[in-house]
């Protein structure tokens, strides 16, 4: 584990610790709000943990144990993400908040839309910008399908549809997602949902004006 003691920029008083699969979206949101970039330090943990959620809570705990004292507050850019409440138990120790929801699909789409999509077709498989961009690494290699293509049926036998929950409008990513749906033999649906609940990570930080920060 790499600690950031040496690299910490003193004026950046808040830590945003997030899933690596959200890094582009988090950076974009920070860039859109210059006031935020002065206040936060963004650190991400491996996106590959998407496939091994049992590593998330221990990984977050290890990072926070080494680094949380360097920050005023800690904000977590994860949902529960398949940790079965284990992440929440870690966050309680550090008085940190995470994004509400079960996983990124839910907070990107919003709970109502996600529920509606699930009700329409139970066997729906979701992709985000990050997962489309890194489809081979996370989905094919990450699930071992490159070495064991015979596992495809075990993983996907109950799925019939792929929904691409897009954060940005990107023609190439849309083409790629269509191709992945074809390759898997799934129906395809595209929804431009943006970053949805991910923005909530910044809400509390944004509420405190810089002047107040400096006075402290």
């Amino acid at each position: 584990m790499v600690t950031d003691k040496k690299h910490i920029d003193p004026p950046k008083k808040r830590l945003i610790l997030g899933c690596g699969a959200l890094v582009y979206d988090l950076l974009r949101l920070i860039k859109q709000n210059p006031a935020l970039s002065d206040k936060v330090n963004l650190q991400c943990l491996p996106a590959s943990w998407h496939n091994t959620p049992q590593l998330i809570a221990p990984g977050v705990e290890e990072y926070l144990a080494e680094n949380s004292h360097l920050y005023k507050d800690v904000y977590i850019a994860y949902a529960d993400c398949g940790t079965g409440g284990a992440l929440d138990r870690v966050l309680k120790k550090y008085n940190a908040k995470r994004i509400s929801g079960a996983h990124c699909y839910e907070f990107f789409a919003g709970s109502d839309v996600f529920e509606q999509l699930s009700e329409q077709e139970l066997g729906t498989f979701y992709l985000t910008d990050y997962l489309v961009k890194n489809f081979h690494r996370i989905m094919i290699k990450g699930l071992g399908l490159d070495k064991h293509p015979d596992l495809f049926d075990i993983y996907f036998e109950n799925y019939t549809k792929l929904v691409y929950l897009a954060q940005t409008e990107n023609e190439q990513l849309q083409k790629d997602a269509v191709q992945y749906a074809k390759d898997f033999g799934f129906e395809y649906e595209y929804r431009l949902v943006g970053t949805g609940g991910l923005d909530s990570v910044f809400e509390e930080i944004d509420l405190v004006p810089l002047a107040t920060e400096e006075e402290k």
């Binding site: 091994t52 590593l55 529960d80 409440g85 284990a86 529920e115 139970l122 699930l143 071992g144 993983y155």
Partner: protein, 234 residues
């Protein structure tokens, strides 16, 4: 494997062959596990001993390494496939065997509204590896499916799985219905799935929450052992 490394399983003595089957199981080599199982049987081994000494013992190692983060889902699924190869040979013989060495029947299924089954497949495989006879009901099971399976199979344990926060409360419906029908005293209930935790299990009256497949199989075995039974159906 190079030609030099290639060898005939028939050349190994019994002890070496059992160890080789365990290694092949770990590596997910279903053809080799099937062949090794057949060779042990052809040498006069009892099917129960092949199951216990080679396959179950091999799966225990897989379970431990999965629990400890050395093996991950893809590898364990391959191990499950290899185990199935061996079980395909043994199952018909075990069915006719007068000696019942099963830990009992374990009925498992994903609840209504949920199609996620990788986790419960892993639990099924780990429990089969531990010596249970597993009846997997698959996905999207309404309460009726669980009740019918309990009537038909008389399991010692019922396992329910869910991956969604919206579907996990349905486990409570199943528990309630079992309570109404007086089935709880005969059937131990376990639950698992990513969004669950012990608090949720407590809230719906399920005594055993399995945080992962390996732990679930351990808990199932511990439960049967706690009944004072070494093996056998309820």
């Amino acid at each position: 494997m190079s030609e030099e490394d290639d060898f005939d399983l028939n050349d190994l003595d019994d002890k070496e062959l059992v160890e080789q089957i365990q290694d092949d199981l770990y590596d997910g080599l279903d053809e080799e596990v099937t062949e090794g199982t057949e060779i042990l049987l052809s040498r006069g081994w009892d099917a129960n001993d092949v199951l216990g000494d080679a396959l179950v013992a091999g799966m225990k190692i897989v379970g431990i390494d999965f629990r400890d983060g050395i093996l991950f889902v893809p590898e364990v699924l391959k191990c499950a496939g290899a185990m199935k190869g061996g079980m395909k040979v043994l199952r018909p013989i075990l069915a006719q065997s007068s000696e019942d060495t099963s830990l009992g029947k374990f009925v498992i299924g994903t609840v209504k509204g949920d199609i996620h089954d990788i986790g419960q497949k892993l639990v099924s495989m780990m429990c089969e590896g531990a010596g249970f006879e597993v009846i997997n009901l698959g996905i999207n099971n309404p309460v009726e499916n669980y009740l019918e399976a309990i009537d038909e199979h008389e399991p010692v344990i019922l396992g329910m799985s869910a991956l969604l926060t919206t579907t996990m409360p349905y486990m409570g419906v199943v528990v309630e219905e079992m309570e109404k029908r007086g089935l709880r005293k005969d059937v131990h209930i376990m639950c698992g799935g990513a969004p669950l935790n012990q608090e949720f299990a407590d809230s719906i009256g399920v005594p055993a929450y399995g945080r992962d497949a390996a732990r679930s199989a351990e808990m199932a075995e511990e439960y049967v052992r706690s009944l004072g039974k070494q093996r056998g159906h309820r």
